[in-house]
Point group: D2
Chain length 354, copies 4
């Protein structure tokens, strides 16, 4: 089902080569003034064609708001935003040749002959654009409540930069990174990451990476034990984003290398507030926020669309064959996905605090 | 909320030191004969006190079925199973001293003075016992449909054994591992893992690890793009399990080290079936099963309860102080959690296929 | 929340005077060929301006399908249909004068100053147009499964015609009624109903009525005991339709006048099938269909918009005053609502059988 | 599914002749002191065997609270309450003879041979006991917020008493009625209703009736347009109660006899508050509370279990035959159902205001 949320409800719709893609976002309180410039900037962070690293395919990605907003202020009723599909080249796609790493095969298994395979159809990364629109609204509401969300690229291929867990973290830093074309803490390391991407591109190949996301200003006590743990809510949203294949909170998989005496975040007080002196748990104990920054990382696989020859199957002939994917594709999706991760997180956090 | 699922509904209830813990499982079709011995064996895999590695605390963990079953066959109506709490020592717990790494602080932040903090209350790992009961039922229903679920410990502290992705995998292997006290592929490596646990224990410390889970026999076409992706559904369940801090599907975080040309799983056909020649994606493309084994790993942090002196806060005096956790605790929870991961997975898979 | 359903999900959005109204319908299987002419006819049955009984306001009500349909066949992904608002006259509405019987007051109570009050905003009966679009698709899917849904006007003001419970009922009859401008069994009685409407209109007044709906071809065994009873699912949908204030299944409120010996529908068999010889229960026992026609009636209140002077409050001055509602309004909404009731029912039945 | 609610979640389980029946109630905030005497009194209002009007079958109906309550105060985690089944006589029931008006046939259609038919199984009216337990907790929480819920029997067979809409209504009156064995405004009319019940009983027959329910103290602005209208939420709960076959809000079906000029409730102000001078709409406009008492009536059919000979089918032989229902049954269920209606309403209102 393409509906998500408990206290908010998000419904995503659309296919890469259909008339339009969009989202219905329900549960946003009335009276929130929307900063349309901010929304546009967030959309632009995700949009293709912004620099040499991404597909030259230009998409206007202009959102038309159909409902739920009057004079740029939310009315409290469902907000529907749509983005028309204008620049589509369906002829690039061959129905019978399964693209490895894509959802062509599973799409046909699930939907049969009526599956809209053109450009990935409903599986297209393009469907994250409405998610960014919805998340940008969520971000504004969270911002009113003192909550900031930001991210950086922690790794591209084998190039890494330090975690938010091991470097100074502030709202200002998150904002600063969000204004960069290539969202990293260290531009020097970012340059190396770009080289790794361009290197892969020149080999007709692709690379993946890791995005680390931070939520600042979230009060302690948000979330639930068990099924609605903050980790459950955030992860269910993150795995909605195409190409995400892993998530870890705080030290995550690195917890295996720590003993309890080091892993446990000791509590401390200044007489007024209680906090932890380390944040290995990424701001969450027992599924509930503890007032420290909520920190998690998501792993994104390399873009499956590559220009190299790959083995595959022709489903009509049921024969082994090869495919060379033409068309306009990103050698790396990670830099464009950072804002998607942030916006998805904003929706997940909003659903938890309302 | 402690209710989970779309096509099935699970409600978990209970506190570590309350009258009973239990679960309501709705959506199981009528006519399923329950193998009570199998359920008991699964419960025993999770139960404490089974060997020198785990807490000497003995829990009967005998499930009483209150509804939904007549003559050992499901009736189609909600199944309620409860486990009475008998062996509880509440005096071991001091309300004012926050245990680092536990949910004491967040529990009080969320629930206030009425929070049942005794033994972790509703946050206790003991609450996973009803999940195993429910999951054991789900496993039997899946088994009827040819679907098997198993797991092994892939890592304890710094001791690792090979992934299911890099070694032969079969239903028989999964079954064999499930019968072991210490669920690993290689008993030799398992012995080293046990030593690591005992070593931590002797230092009054604890260790965590990684459990890898496999779902065999799942047809292609199960799951959904976006919000109800198989990864979303499984991960939301996995992060319900206390101490789980990370999850990755297929290569997961290792995807960052692979280029697209290697990461993509090429399709092949034998003229009848289509499959992939590698399984880096862990059996899932675009959120939907592709017919290959579904493979994922979860990271579990070290048990937070350790006997060492730790820094913490006395919440009554609002002063910094130290705590030494007495009582009966596991130096490692991973070996007992394997069946919890499997049972949670069974519920997630069942919810996706019904 | 404006999302409904378990196995299907419907999200309705839009305001009477916004850019567009619409619906996202998720859960429709792939491969359903859409009969666009049928959809248009259903939309037309609800549309205003069709005859002298309804508002002269003409609305094109042309649905644009944005997603989920390729070459007029459903793809299995969410279907979004929108209807642009073109013929809106916002100047007819005064924000400070509460219209009696309308949701102006409650809208401001819930949404505050940002409430979109123009033309009733999100409360407008116009928002049922997308519901008809979604329901018309559901009807086609149900039709494939041998299920027909139809309705007639059982009462307008004090003019009644016999219930489906007390007259011959067939698929053909339902179809025949659906083709009428004024959907009644007996055109003679229908004529009197029309006179009652025109009479009210000439007095600057309005009237309500009762719509009876029938579901034919629904197999026994659909629905659930308790919370997801067929009555619960249908009624929750019916009370989503503006102006509906009552619902009864089978004899409903008339059950009070029957004794058990008469009310109980005795079972009978022809050796092959089991059926009941009467259908006082309206085809539902214990929340589950029994194979007889599902029959229920909904009561609709008189249109609240009337041209007579009414007492009300000026919310700005907080003073008692009067209002005369100008603009274009129906003296009776019942005849246009019949198709809305049917389409809502189609969605409810579909959610129960999938 | 036997789970209900958005902001609270209720799961009902149990069969008439199983080990126990019960409920899990999630979403009740921590810190609510439970008045166990009040809960017991509410349970007793529903319990059988209280007077000559109802079945002599005695049920202890003692609730055991398993979780979510510590020292009689809610902890904020799921509350599970169970009632053991002790006094069950399964031999009274013959699997092959379908009881007219009951869910025997539909139960077998839905659940097949594994259907627990004993005493109606999960369809039994006895399953409303846990609903009363949950609702009694909800009532206490609502009471803290100044909201009172009460009801009276408006009609038994052809004996009627005035509606709350046409007689003085106060919190005190509701309380006073709730303390009566036979919950009516006028004991004189009540006596006639009892005679009607006893008369039916002496004829081995049964009668139904109408319960009118009132919610006092609910602020304006609660509920939603469309799918989560207050009417939708309340009605979906009401039709979960066995034997309920109709519901109407305010004038309901009587709206058909009113013209808009009379039906519309004019607004008035005293300079501080806005209210309506009549309450035909039963306190709800556009699905949202308007601050007036919320008023609705539910129709209950005659108890289907009667001692008279009835025609039915022997499902084993597939032959027409007759049945005489022995055992212990109520000639009228309405007086016992009043508290069930109130408690269901309390849960519905609570779900809408949290």
């Amino acid at each position: 089902m393409n509906t998500w949320g408990n206290k908010i409800k998000i419904s995503i719709f659309g296919e890469s080569h259909g008339a339009a893609i969009g989202v219905v976002l329900d549960g946003i309180p009335s009276g929130l003034p929307l900063d349309m410039d901010f929304i546009r900037r967030e959309m632009l962070r995700r949009a293709p064609g912004q620099n040499s690293l991404s597909t030259p395919r230009k998409e206007a990605d202009e959102v038309e708001i159909l409902s739920g907003v009057m004079n740029s202020v939310t009315t409290g009723t469902p907000i529907c935003g749509i983005i028309k599909n204008t620049n589509t080249k369906s002829k690039d796609y061959n129905k019978n040749l399964l693209r490895p790493g894509h959802a062509d095969f599973t799409g046909f298994q699930k939907y049969g002959d009526s599956h809209d395979f053109r450009g990935g159809g409903h599986f297209s990364g393009r469907i994250t654009a409405p998610l960014v629109f919805a998340g940008a609204i969520a971000k504004q509401l969270l911002s009113q409540k003192g909550i900031s969300i930001g991210s950086h690229i922690k790794q591209i291929y084998d190039i890494k930069e330090p975690s938010f867990m091991d470097s100074p973290l502030s709202k200002e830093l998150l904002n600063e990174i969000s204004l960069k074309d290539f969202p990293v803490i260290s531009d020097e390391i970012g340059e190396k990451m770009k080289q790794a991407i361009l290197g892969a591109s020149s080999e007709k190949d692709s690379v993946g990476g890791i995005i680390e996301c931070a939520v600042l200003g979230l009060a302690a006590g948000i979330g639930s034990p068990f099924f609605a743990s903050l980790e459950s809510v955030i992860s269910s949203m993150m795995f909605s984003i195409p190409a995400v294949k892993g998530i870890e909170f705080g030290r995550g998989f690195d917890f295996t290398n720590l003993k309890g005496s080091v892993a446990n975040d000791p509590f401390q007080t200044d007489g007024e507030k209680i906090f932890t002196t380390t944040n290995n748990n990424g701001g969450i104990n027992g599924g509930i926020s503890n007032g420290m920054p909520v920190l998690f990382s998501v792993a994104m696989k390399p873009t499956p669309s590559i220009a190299q020859t790959q083995n595959t199957v022709d489903t009509e002939k049921m024969e082994n064959t090869t495919i060379e994917i033409k068309g306009r594709h990103d050698p790396c999706i990670v830099q464009r996905a950072a804002v998607v991760v942030e916006c998805g997180t904003a929706l997940a956090v909003l659903d938890s605090i309302l």
